[in-house]
């Protein structure tokens, strides 16, 4: 069975400090990987997607970057946090089989920027 693990579970960080969030998928080879951001009480906004190692596409610009150093790992980062970065960050994987859109989300990282 596929599992998706996000770390850390929660973070409190200062404005201007760096951030690195991680996501690991086990049990699925060459998954499509996604990062989403959700404001408290809001909808999910897709940030990045990656269909292969070393290749990441940005969907929206929020002063964040993403990398995929390994097939099963997806990293979200920034060098300088803003207050507006607070929220819930979710990693997801999707099937490569385009006949079956199957997305599975991780349990998320809650970030508070102060």
């Amino acid at each position: 069975a596929q599992t998706i693990h996000q770390w850390p579970v929660a973070e409190i960080k200062a404005v201007g400090s760096p951030l690195s969030l991680g996501c690991t998928i086990k049990g699925k080879s060459s998954p499509n990987l996604y990062w989403y951001w959700q404001a408290t009480g809001g909808t999910l906004q897709q940030l990045f997607y990656s269909i292969t190692v070393g290749q990441v596409e940005s969907v929206v610009q929020l002063n964040l970057s993403a990398s995929r150093p390994k097939d099963d790992q997806f990293i979200l980062s920034t060098e300088k946090l803003l207050l507006s970065h607070s929220g819930f960050y979710l990693c997801a994987w999707g099937s490569l089989d385009t006949s079956n859109s199957d997305y599975t989300f991780g349990s998320g990282t809650r970030l508070l920027v102060i």
């Binding site: 499509n32 996604y34 009480g41 809001g42 909808t43 999910l44 906004q45 897709q46 997607y49 269909i51 596409e57 969907v59 979710l90 997801a92 999707g94 859109s101 199957d102 997305y103 599975t104 989300f105 991780g106 349990s107 998320g108 809650r110």
Partner: protein
């Protein structure tokens, strides 16, 4: 109904009642997905309906899709208190992008 630019909608019902949530979308999509998100958790996919399907059922869930009006609905029959969650629709306009609606907050009281 929900879409990204609208505020989160809220519904409050009693356990055992049936409920229908609506979603309208603005761009072409090949599928509409419905998700349930419980407090503090990631969303879980409930049902996926394709553009060539008008209706799809899964247990107590029923999704409909009307591509001519670009709208979809999710119905839950015989709701339970455990159905309390936020429900999102999501579309795929292409290029690995997924666009979520604004969501409907459903509260089912025992």
């Amino acid at each position: 109904s929900q879409w990204g630019e609208e505020n989160l909608q809220a519904l409050s019902i009693q356990e055992g009642e049936d409920v229908t949530m609506n979603c309208s979308y603005k761009t072409y999509t090949t599928v509409v997905q419905w998700y349930r998100q419980k407090s503090g958790k990631g969303p879980a996919q409930l049902i996926l309906i394709r553009s060539n399907e008008r209706e799809k059922r899964s247990g107590r869930l029923r999704a409909t899709l009307d591509t001519s009006s670009q709208s979809s609905s999710l119905s839950i029959t015989g709701t339970l208190a455990t159905d309390t969650a936020v429900y999102f629709c999501a579309t795929e306009p292409g290029g690995y992008k997924v666009v979520f609606g604004s969501g409907t907050r459903l509260l089912v009281s025992p």
